[in-house]
Symmetry: C2
Subunit: 681 residues, 2 copies
């Protein structure tokens, strides 16, 4: 039996015997414990911090004496003075084994940190970026054995960090000689570890030990808005988030009008590309300013977008996407240099664009698949990304199907009589008392409901200007639940419904939500045409999902995930009341928030996830709704708004369920309670 002390690491449980005097970092490396170090154990980087535990550990079968580690040394003193070491922590490269010891590796000292996500079913983000920092000491030049400074740097990186044969970016070559000499042959390198497209490469170099971070951008390039998350590539944390309107809106609100613009104007596609690049470069300046970092520290960027935006980002005319057979120029993932695209980041920065699934199911849907991982799900999950087009994924570990369904812009508040974009003043939540038929509502920008004290004062500035997408869905669903609308989608008359809020308009009736004319505001109503729009949209969505279920050979799904910024705001209950989504246990209908953005973040932070989603997308079976006769059939059958009898037997049970919105982005958790209070009153 070994007489060497036993070293046990938590939380991994890895253990081994090591001679007295072995640094904890060395022991960790030998055991394959995930303990970070950027300086190679020189007491500079402090990334190898550990927390030793003392006392008796019956679970591990050891008793740890007070002197189980070498004494606190001058390196630790210096580091503590300079930047402060959390009480109880030691530097793993300095603390040496003296006796049996139990050492905890805190989360932030792990190389492959995890950014834990709140939803249990969502995959955690493993931090395993393609570009990392390495500190290294380089041999000085020698006339007797001439070699380039770069070659000696590469040799040092290979020897100390076991990195592959590297190349250097041209920008690094230009800076190399002065930086090496300024750092007295000690430098920190940002190294891109290589992928299918790019050979491993030194991206940036700093003299001495570089204490800062390097960053990456996860960009969700939507047709309406462009959202970016700036992430620390070391910790995986989001350090800033920012968004702008897509400047292409001036060429057309929706995708098809942009495709048309490209068709009607010789340089139309180029103009749109220039516009979106200009917008993104402005966004990058803005987000770097928010995070107070130099834009040149952004070394990587991941883009997710629909196929039309995908083509316009790359400078490709999306002409072919506007007509059958909807041929993509390229469907595979793309690895590029940011400069190729005209993006102003670090001169050597990389860009990764997720693969597209089909001509109507883009890299954004791939990102949703990466975030929600239907291909790794034990149970059958339906993932719906609701926007102007709905991208729908259905699958489990065995198989994943995908399609796109043309829901149109009604879900975004467009083509609705009182509709508007989600903006301050827009009605976003509605409750209609089933007895009195009186509506109460919330508007964006105010936390109060319309029947609460102070509502008028708090909304004075914005006014009450219209209904946004989530508001119109709730309005229609509540009107149905309150008996104001019948199954085929007709609004009853005042006599039929018993409320004066119903009034005739043309050959049908409309329903008054709010009359602001006394204060110079608009009359906000739901017309029967609005109901028709919502019926069409929801029928399209439902039919797409049903079509996939047919192809999968199932009648029901185990779970439904509503994704997309809009999905984040739809109340699952109202979605089910409307018949937007197929039948599923109510508690299994959740919102994934901005899943495409999350997928972008995963691909940014975890280089393995890129391989993963590329493989997944290759295996996703695409269904083209346009050429599937059954889609049309489902569509015709799905326009009705279900009632308790058919085809949704669980509808009645929903009426008293809380309508908690699982949106991660916050939201008022007390709404469910408040609602019941309202009803009771």
């Amino acid at each position: 039996m070994s007489k060497d002390p036993l070293v046990i690491f938590t939380p991994s449980g890895k253990r081994g015997h090591f001679p007295v005097g072995t640094p904890i970092l060395t022991a960790a490396r030998k055991l394959g414990v995930d303990l970070d170090s950027a300086c190679g154990g020189r007491g500079i980087c402090s990334k190898c911090q550990v927390t030793p535990s003392y006392g008796e550990f019956s679970k591990h079968g050891v008793t740890v004496a007070k002197d189980a580690l070498s004494e606190w040394n001058t390196v630790e003193d210096r580091y503590n003075e300079k930047r402060g070491l959390i009480s109880g922590r030691r530097l793993g490269c300095q603390a040496k084994v003296q006796g049996d010891i139990v050492v905890d590796v805190p989360a932030e000292s792990q190389v492959h940190k995890q950014v834990v996500r709140k939803r249990a079913e969502a995959r955690d983000i493993v931090v395993n970026p393609s570009t990392r920092l390495y500190y290294v000491e380089v041999q000085e030049p020698d006339m007797h054995d001439p070699s380039g400074d770069l070659e000696r740097l590469i040799t040092a990186l290979r020897k100390e960090w076991e990195l592959p044969e590297l190349e250097a970016d041209l920008s690094v070559l230009k800076a190399l000689q002065p930086v090496l000499r300024k750092g007295e042959w000690k430098v920190t390198c940002a190294v891109h570890l290589g992928d299918d497209t790019f050979s491993p490469r030194i991206m940036q170099i700093w003299p001495g030990y570089y204490e800062g971070s390097i960053y990456g951008l996860a960009v969700d390039l939507g047709s309406t808005t462009i959202a970016a998350h700036l992430c620390d590539l070391g910790s995986g944390e989001v350090v800033a988030s920012s968004g702008i309107m897509n400047p292409q809106i001036r060429f057309g609100e929706d995708l098809m009008s942009r495709v048309s613009y490209g068709m009607m104007n010789a340089s139309g596609a180029d103009e749109m590309t220039d516009a979106v690049l200009e917008g993104m470069n402005a966004l990058f300046v803005q987000i770097a300013a928010e995070a107070e970092i130099d834009r040149n520290l952004i070394l990587d960027a991941v883009f997710v977008c629909n196929p039309v935006m995908h083509h316009l980002l790359l400078g490709i005319d999306p002409f072919e996407l506007g007509q059958a057979p909807f041929a993509l120029t390229t469907s595979d993932a793309l690895a590029l240099r940011a400069v190729e695209l005209g993006l102003n980041l670090h001169p050597a920065a990389r860009v990764y664009v997720l693969p597209c699934i089909a001509g109507h199911v883009g890299a954004d849907a791939a990102a949703v698949a990466l975030s929600e991982a239907p291909d790794k799900s034990e149970d059958l999950v339906l993932v719906v990304d609701v926007g102007t087009n709905a991208e729908i994924l259905l699958g489990n570990k065995e198989k994943v199907l995908a399609c796109s369904s043309p829901t149109g812009p009604a879900f975004e508040g467009a083509q609705i009589s009182s509709g508007q974009r989600a903006a301050p003043g827009a009605i976003e939540r509605i409750v209609i008392d089933p007895v009195t038929k009186e509506p109460h509502f919330k508007v964006i920008g105010c936390d109060l409901w319309s029947d609460e004290d102070g509502f008028a004062a708090e909304t004075a500035a914005t006014g009450i200007t219209g209904i946004c997408g989530s508001g119109i869905i709730e309005a229609v669903a509540e009107m149905r639940l309150a008996g104001i609308v019948d199954g085929p989608g007709l609004i009853g008359s005042a006599e039929q419904t018993g409320t004066d809020r119903c009034f005739p308009e043309g050959r049908t009736n409309s329903f008054l939500i709010h009359d602001g004319t006394a204060d110079g505001g608009p009359r906000i109503t739901v017309t029967n045409v609005d109901i028709r729009q919502i019926q069409m949209a929801k029928a399209a969505l439902y039919s797409g999902a049903r079509l996939l279920m047919d192809k999968f050979g199932v009648d029901k799904v185990d779970r439904v995930v509503l994704a997309g910024a809009f999905g984040a705001h739809i109340s699952p209950k109202h979605a089910m009341v409307l018949g937007m989504i197929p039948d599923a246990p109510f508690e299994n209908v959740t919102s994934a928030g901005n899943a495409a953005g999350t997928g972008a973040r995963i691909a940014l932070l975890n280089t393995d996830a890129r391989k993963d989603i590329e493989e997944t997308v290759r295996n996703i079976h695409k269904i083209e709704t346009a050429i599937e006769p059954r889609f049309q059939e489902h569509f015709v059958n799905a326009s009705a708004i279900p009632n308790s009898a058919e085809p949704f037997p669980i509808l009645n049970s929903l009426v008293d369920l809380p309508d908690v919105n699982h949106n991660q982005g916050g939201g008022d958790k007390s709404e469910g309670r408040r609602r019941r209070r309202k009803r009771a009153s």
Copy 2:
């Protein structure tokens, strides 16, 4: 025994039996015969032309009947009408085996063509470029099985041409969809087959079968001139050659003054980089215009240059190269994109820069090594690239040594009293009659010797303006042979030499070559200071060579190769008279012409040669003359101009040898004869 007909290919001698009806191209492929085809056997490209032979072939043991191949068909007819087929030729993809047949593959139908070089000892250039053309038919898009146009193109290239998984350049993506549709799903692709830095990639795409060529540039980036050869990447032929003065000359004539300019001016290095890039882009426009091709068809470029030019090409301040330990930023070969450097070629064009050997022995020396291949030589060869610095290689199959020797600018006519650059009007050849001591000479721009009829008339335009580098070397050597100069390098007086052309100047004497003052021209003389300059320069060159011989442990070499544009003009005989180079059999002293430029051409045309020279350079042992005490020793001993007694016993025998200059670039072959006639007269 097989009853199938026997097919024999010449010149390879490969043979095999194939069923009746097998196309010759198919048979060639199965046997691994090097028969080209760009259209995949569709009768479009005509690259698979072969010459069948009929009759009895006792050597091969077959008799070929007249009907051994299928009859001339309509595809061949059409091709012959359109572009003409050389008599006796068939298209290998159309002609089918009917009986035993002998088929010759002409040189131009081979994939790996060879560009044969005139000198027996020089390596031929194998045409095996990194970028090639492929014709392919692509599957049309299908809504039922959506995939990107690019992915279907890549699949076709993989299936038809066994190419690896490709990517596409962004410029290809932009053009892809319209080109595929214009070509009705038949296209020609220029494909870069990949290297250590770049993954295999489609560089350009044309609708249908592209009948044109793609091109590459071999660029010899010298401190004084920039020379470029435009090569057809398919045939290997040089289609245009052009040169310009290096615009950096305004920052300093020689390398050290450019290094100084960078030291003295904050943005000095950047200015010099901008200047050389601007110059090269102008040169590329010029050479494309000469060849009457679109500059966008230039897909590859290879650069050779000395270390200072190497750094300035890349935008790196050459500061460190101006001081010990002469550390290069990088010594390895570089693969880059032309756009990264700011070179205006095809948007996806590649750039390859040969490796440097040491801080004073650059990529130009590596190119000389590639061209002259000392590492593949059975006998011991000394390769001298003579310029402002002399780069010297010594070696054989066992080992190669390299050094650089600071010869200074005297060999280029600088710092010589009547010296000038090689330009019209400069004296480049000199003969001094050993009896009468009368000099005769030739000037650049005139084919006549100065004592021939019409010389005065033909040189009236340029005048006789000075002596260039090769002229001063011949002058000093001829003065020594005629007894005008003694061993230590002193010019005798008129009394001592018996000619009035010797006249006192200061404490020593000068020698009058030509007095043009009567016509308003200069008096062209060789002063004793000039002799000293040449002595210093040749001593430096000789000492470098001797130092390598010491290191190699030899006293003599088997062969001497004089390389460099200047080396091309030095008469080997005069170089030996002067003692510029160590003793070697006279017939084994040859000139390699612009070996660096040839090396660049080899690296451009043969991708394997790049690996080869990278490996060779890694194995070359570098000697730094500055820190070798023996260099100084040799230098002191080498300043004398040898006489018949010592140290060059073969000197006397040289006097009557023809001084044929092995310069490949042409030159007057009758000079040797003419000279003897002069002497006789």
